[in-house]
Amino acid sequence: MEQLIQQIASGLASGAIYALLALALVMIFTATDHLNFAQGEMAMFSTYVCWQLIQLGVPFWPALGLTIVFSFILGLSIERIILRPLHGSPILSIVVVFIGLLAIFHSLAGSIWSHTIKTFPSPFPNVSFAGSGYIGAHQIGMIAVSLIMLFALFAFFRFTPLGLAMRAAAQNPVSARLVGVRVDWMLALGWGLAASIGAVAGAMVAPVVYLEPNMMASILLYGFAGALVGGISSPGGAVFGGFLVGVLENLVAYFGNLTEKAFGIYIVGNGEKLTVALIIVIAILTLKPAGLFGRTTVKRV
């Protein structure tokens, strides 16, 4: 039982990261109908920037702040420079450009910082407290930072004029343009925000998975799974889906372990994490493409 609670707690911690990444994916999807396959590698690249700043002697939180600014500019410029001219191109072109970006960020990180695995400092003090038998300090910190991010974003979209304009641009670009919203720039802002969220997710997860160019591949897949479970067109749903998928991931491994102990048959374990994510993705896509909270899209002929 104790183990089960432990598993759920650490599932929530990794779920927080998936939720952030899922939110970044949803932000780009609602605005442009694109699935950003380069999201994970962009986050990984930002995390390396953060690591570099820390190496240069900047304390953790200011370094993270600078990284967020850097990622924001990076995301914004990618949208303005690379994707803007492809507006209205066939889906294949867009997907191929995303794969190209993925390859570039992956290899650039490799050539700048090498492929050797690096440790990433955790900003949270390693103290014990009530209930710390179940969950580590860093995991609590991960959840807390993610929740703060989520509420800040919610407040931004709900209560600021700029957030309102961005929502309008995503929901109905034509009408938004008519009332004077600069839709193009709103999309670019969305990209910038998504990249910043990715950077936070990367910096939070790096102390756990260590820093290396491949660190984000599996996390991105879980981010996608989370976004799909909650409904890729619903930000709140994506966050919920992220947490759910995080817990599910740990429970699958846990129950896999139990069945192995009880019956001596190995079915799933940690080695099948990605396969589990793939099955979730395919199952949701085929059974309930709108996810739990998403809207069903109706195609106009």
Partner: protein
Amino acid sequence: MTAITSAAPMTDDPRRSLGSYAMIGLLVLAAALPFLVGKSGWISNFTFLQLSLMIVYAIAVLGLNLLTGFNGQISLGHGAFFAVGAYTAAILIDQYSVNAWLTLPIAAILCFVIGYLFGLPALRLEGHYLALATFGLAIAVPQMLKYRHLEPFTNGVMGINLIKPDPPFGLPLSSDQWMYLAVLVVAVFMFWMARNLLNSRPGRAMTAIRDHTMAAGTMGIDTSRYKATVFGISALYVGVAGALHAIIFEFVSPDSFRFELSIAILVGAVVGGVASLPGAVIGGIFVQFIEKYADAMTKKISQAIHLPLELQPWTLYGLTLIVLIYVMPGGIAGGLAMLWAKIKPRQGG
């Protein structure tokens, strides 16, 4: 998908038949190459291996072209079917001592079935969603190959070592030359089949689905069955390529089928031109060429422009992809076809 158009419509104009004579001539020359060189060593065995690998990748790229270029379905995970083909061949040869060439049809059938089954749920998916599902597949494949219950067959992370078959009937060829010849024959057969498929009624249905799925449906084409079948055929092509790769490369392991492989096949398809059969050949050559020389090339480029860091081949891949989408969305084959179309009216008067 409206931007993709077939590079050259098949018609009976005389210039076309001239072209096909030239192609047959070229093929005969390619087939005669190992006999002409013999054991003289003008062209090393290593070069023959490189050529064989190019042809193998061309078959794989052709598989993706059939799916993406001619049927409008995007796959980022064709490395998975390459892996299935390679492992099928390797396990059959290694554990059941099956003749290497017999493994090809078995790998083909198996990949068709798996591709068809994967294609069934994928039917409901379009565009980005299909890309996502196959993206997941590509990432998960190495892990699946390491699955504990498959280990007695796959030998886990160690992989399987194979030995190339020797040339039969005492042909005066080295085994690399013989492999090259065999791969060439298989490739010609596969391309010929693809060409016939595309020129047939089902082939026209495939392209109709690409151009407008709903319109194709209202004209009585069973779009979902077609899509799943094309997915299967595409997987079949890539699976055969994988089996050939295992045989000539003499080794398979889970980490040879990482996400990079799926990207390499995609890059080949985009560079060659997704809706073109000759484009697949260009793509195959490009993939092997980059794999072989990208390291050296990127090093030279980094030195030439005095970059403080060493660029990696993937940076070239990524840049190639993005630049191509801008300047030549039809790939090299599409670009050549456009150039040809510009020149032709002046010639014909």
